[in-house]
């Protein structure tokens, strides 16, 4: 009986080891500078350096409740060290944090920056965090929200 218990415990260890996710670490996904991308007529943005095309039409609906008024507008986008994508734009109140998933970006967090619209937002890479500038205002963000 005792032997059976030992065998069962061993089998549980083997099962747990087999179920754990295999991760290559550490990784640095950070983009040195933000990308400023123009939305085309179909609602897509294209980042040539990182070979990325994504449809952001629904982001305008999220922010302005208007999914038609996007063509020609600019989206500012940056990726932090952990791999989260931060997006915002002129007249936005929020910064959207996404994580890439199969076939798209999954919304991880929506950070309210100010009740007033951002007039000239810009992202900077700051070690583990992302800095958001808006005129003379400066904010420090991560995927969880406002750091400062």
């Amino acid at each position: 009986m005792r032997l059976i218990n030992h065998v069962l415990i061993l089998l549980i260890f083997v099962f747990l080891a087999a179920c754990s996710t295999y991760i290559l670490k550490p990784a640095d996904f950070s983009w040195p500078i933000e990308s400023v991308l123009k939305v085309d007529n179909k609602g897509n943005i294209e980042e040539q350096r990182y070979s990325l095309i994504i449809r952001v039409k629904s982001l305008y609906f999220q922010e302005f409740a208007d999914s038609m008024n996007f063509a020609g507008k600019e989206i500012r986008m940056i990726r932090d060290k952990a791999g989260y994508i931060f997006m915002t734009g002129k007249d936005f109140k929020n910064v959207y944090v996404f994580i890439p998933v199969e076939g798209g970006f999954k919304l991880e967090n929506k950070i309210l920056i100010s009740e007033k619209n951002l007039s000239a937002p810009a992202f900077n890479q700051k070690l583990q965090n992302i800095e958001l500038l808006d005129g003379t205002n400066k904010y420090l963000l991560n995927n969880k929200g406002l750091v400062r």
């Binding site: 500078i33 992202f123 890479q125």
Partner: protein, 420 residues
């Protein structure tokens, strides 16, 4: 004093605000600023018009480097696929190449300057020689001494013209090299360079003068077939180069009307030069027939030459019964042996064919016509039978002589002596 204190405080406050604004600059903006200034320098290098401008750009590069050295780490990452150092290496190399171009242009300018001096010397000499030749030709009594000095002057003029043509072509060639180096349309700086080169070499004037002197030379001197062949080659070479450079110069000078009209004038002068040369060559060939009182219609092209010979021969054959066989035969031999096969075919036809003034087919058709004329006009055919009969008789006589002259040789064999 109190006011000064407030002023100081305002200044400190303003500088604090300003410094905050500076520190609040986005990395993207910094990168874009760098890229904008970098692009301005690149354009500056491309459009630089002198070595001094290049040296000024050198200073701009140094300033850009010092302004952005604090952001080197950022730029190393954001200037992908280049980095901070490789970007500077790129523009510094481009600037060195541009400086090299100006050094080369400087050398060319000096070269063109010396060519210009030589050309004006030769042009003056040519003018003097031409007037001397004209004066000597006016003299009614030309003694041996006059003729000798005329010949000497002509050969000197010929050498001078050839030398001057070569110098002018040197300038044209160096301009052509400039166009080859920068194919496609030239930018403003490159256009300025071409203007300078054309002006400093007084190019248009010199080309016009070269053409007019060559035409003048033909007018005042007796040209030989060899002279005309050389002149035609000179024309073809020069015209070929001008055809390469003329349209490009016309593009460059499209906004300067007086220069554009000069280019058009040079095109006309080239056409005139060619026409005069062709007229001279055809004129001399026509003259050969006229000198022998052969009424060949005047011609100025290969086809006309064929038609004139054909109609002359046809006329001759039609008039054969009226003129009589002896006269017709005489005309044929004068035409064929004294003119065509003696001078036209060996001397002029190669020049005409080589310069595309007539074709080999034209030549063949003339010679075919002469052959058909010979069978009818020259009784050479009858004579041939007499000659053949004569030859046969001579051969028969020789055979008879040898067979008759052979004597039979009788061999007498003595019987062998028997020993007793």
């Amino acid at each position: 004093m109190k006011l000064n204190g407030f002023f100081f405080l305002y200044a400190v406050f303003a500088s604090l605000l300003f410094s905050q604004a500076i520190t609040a600059q986005s990395d993207y903006e910094k990168t874009q600023n760098f890229k904008t200034r970098f692009k301005q320098i690149e354009d500056g290098i491309k459009n630089a018009g002198s070595l001094d401008e290049c040296n000024m750009i050198d200073e701009h590069i140094a300033r850009l480097r010092s302004d952005f050295t604090p952001d080197k780490t950022l730029l190393d990452k954001s200037l992908y696929p280049d980095n901070f150092e490789s970007s500077f290496a790129k523009i510094e190399r481009a600037l060195e190449i541009r400086k090299g171009d100006f050094a080369q242009i400087g050398e060319l300018k000096t070269e063109v300057g010396s060519l210009k001096d030589k050309i004006s010397d030769l042009s003056q000499q040519n003018e003097g020689l031409l007037s001397q030749i004209k004066q000597l030709q006016i003299l009614s009594s030309k003694d041996a001494q006059t003729i000798a000095s005329l010949q000497k002057l002509v050969s000197q003029l010929k050498a001078n013209i050839a030398q001057r043509d070569e110098l002018v072509r040197g300038i044209v060639d160096s301009l052509l090299a400039e166009f080859v180096k920068t194919p496609g349309s030239l930018n403003d700086a490159e256009k300025q360079l071409v203007f300078k080169k054309v002006d400093s070499g007084n190019l248009f004037f010199n080309i016009e003068r070269t053409i007019s002197d060559n035409i003048q030379f033909m007018k005042v001197t007796q040209t030989t077939p060899q002279d005309l062949s050389n002149l035609k080659k000179q024309y073809s070479d020069f015209n070929k180069v001008w055809h390469q450079i003329g349209p490009k110069l016309a593009d460059v000078y499209v906004s300067r009307k007086e220069k554009a009209s000069e280019i058009a004038n040079i095109n006309n002068m080239f056409a005139d030069w060619n026409n005069r040369l062709n007229d001279e060559i055809w004129g001399q060939v026509n003259k050969l027939f006229r000198e022998k009182q052969l009424a060949v219609l005047p011609f100025k092209s290969g086809d006309q030459f064929v038609n004139s010979v054909n109609s002359f021969v046809d006329d001759e054959l039609n008039n054969l019964p009226v003129k009589g066989a002896t006269q017709a035969e005489k005309t044929f031999y004068t035409f064929a042996d004294s003119v065509y096969f003696k001078t036209v075919q060996p001397t002029w036809i190669p020049i005409l064919v080589e310069n595309n003034m007539m074709t080999s087919a034209n030549k063949d058709s003339i010679e075919k016509k002469i052959t058909s004329w010979k069978t009818k006009a020259a009784p050479g055919a009858k004579m041939n039978w007499i000659y053949i009969a004569g030859v046969i008789v001579i051969v028969l006589l020789l055979i008879a002589y040898f067979t008759k002259g052979k004597k039979k040789v009788v061999v007498v064999q003595e019987p062998p002596k028997t020993e007793e």
